[in-house]
């Protein structure tokens, strides 16, 4: 647990350093994600480990624990609404409507573009595709 948590933090740290040093618009944790994925793939190639079994490794267990409670991690920032609500005051309804319209529209555009391009690339397969 400590070793794998350290591995995650070191990847994030390396990502943060890359992001700042090279002035990239890509945030540190996202670069850390890419580094860890590349590292795991190289490790599997060298040791001949089966990457479809990665969930069963120590790293897999730690990752599942974190991702299984991902929602919890947003609670502290979300509670900040008690502080921000008075500041948005009269615009609260307008902001709520704007967020709602944009959320529905973004979901629809993204899912249909994804499915449309997938079908266009696989002619003859007119099904929804079970993933």
């Amino acid at each position: 647990m400590i070793r794998t948590l350290t591995l995650l933090l070191v990847c994030q740290l390396a990502g943060e350093i890359c992001s700042r040093a090279l002035g990239l618009p890509v945030p540190g944790p996202v670069i850390g994600l890419a580094l860890l994925a590349a590292g795991a793939m190289i490790h599997a190639r060298i040791t001949g480990a089966d990457t479809s079994e990665i969930e069963k490794t120590d790293l897999g267990v730690t990752a599942s624990a974190l991702l299984g409670s991902l929602g919890l991690l947003f609670v502290p920032a979300g509670v900040g609404i008690v502080q921000q609500l008075p500041l948005i005051g009269g615009y609260a309804l307008a902001i709520f409507v704007a967020l709602l319209v944009s959320t529905v529209l973004t979901l629809l555009v993204t899912v249909y573009v994804f499915i449309f391009v997938k079908r266009a690339l696989a002619p003859g397969a007119s099904r929804d595709g079970g993933a």
Binding site: L5, L8, L9, C11, Q12, V26, P27, P29, V30, G32, L33, A34, L36, A37, A40, T51, I54, E55, T62, A63, L66, L67, G68, S69, L70, G71, L72, L73, F74, V75, P76, A77, G78, V79, I81, Q84, L87, I88, Y91, I95, V97, A98, L99, V101, S102, T103, V104, T106, L107, T110, V111, F114, I115, F116, V117, K118, D128, G129, G130, A131
Partner: protein
């Protein structure tokens, strides 16, 4: 026996109390969501935020005091983002097979997310500072706050708008996709991760592991895409 009020005065200023209460609020909220069969309307993030918000208001506790304890949970957002590498590696064949649909959906989705929210809010006469704070609302909190700050928005407001968008997407996605009879879980996951970052990803993982993996990828990619798109689009504002 010490006066209970003096115990409260002591504890309410310590990180321990607010950290412990945040975790308890989450465990209870998650148990309620599970008891409701993970019904999309019973969102554990929303329940936990509402509970803690009510406790802070009822006790007159400043958010800064609360955050001193809750920051330890907040901090884990970074390592959790890195941890998405694990399902990504596990499903890499499926991910590589969908690379082009993902690229197209990313471009279309990232632009839609920014343009639609700014356009609707501007039509209501929302001032520029709030529009800038709204623009990056579909990406994960840390990235969105940085974008907002760089362009003259209010990072703390952006954080709240990000969470609101996250909860909205997580609540809407399952009924919406079911109503439209979309059964491609890679596409569904990608859409909710792009729209609603980590909260959407958490919802996707609760529904289907493939959906969760694609949601995690979309969250990461949109963090990058939005940091490029927002500065470009705000030039016309």
């Amino acid at each position: 026996m010490t006066n209970p009020f003096s115990i409260w005065v002591y504890l309410s200023a310590t990180p321990l109390l607010w950290l412990a209460l945040t975790l308890v609020a989450w465990i209870v909220a998650d148990a309620i969501a599970r008891a409701c069969g993970r019904h999309p309307l019973v969102n554990p993030v929303l329940i936990a935020i509402a509970t803690m918000g009510a406790v802070l208001i009822a006790t007159g506790t400043p958010y800064e005091t609360y955050f001193q304890g809750a920051q330890f949970v907040h901090f884990l957002l970074g390592p959790a983002t890195v941890a998405i590498a694990v399902p990504l590696v596990r499903h890499r064949t499926l991910v590589l097979a969908n690379i082009l649909p993902m690229a197209a959906a990313l471009l279309a989705g990232a632009v839609t997310a920014v343009v639609s929210v700014v356009a609707v809010a501007a039509a209501f006469g929302v001032p520029r500072e709030i529009l800038v704070s709204l623009a990056p609302k579909s990406v994960t909190a840390g990235i969105a706050m940085a974008i907002s700050e760089n362009l003259g928005g209010r990072p703390a407001l952006t954080a709240v708008l990000v969470i609101t968008t996250g909860v909205m997407g997580a609540v809407i996605v399952t009924p919406l996709m079911n109503a439209l009879k979309i059964r491609d879980y890679a596409a569904r996951g990608f859409a909710v991760g792009l729209t609603s970052h980590g909260i959407g990803t958490a919802r996707a993982f609760a529904v289907d592991e493939i959906a969760g993996t694609f949601a995690g990828i979309a969250m990461g990619l949109n963090g990058v895409a939005t940091s490029l798109v927002v500065p470009l689009l705000l030039q016309w504002l």
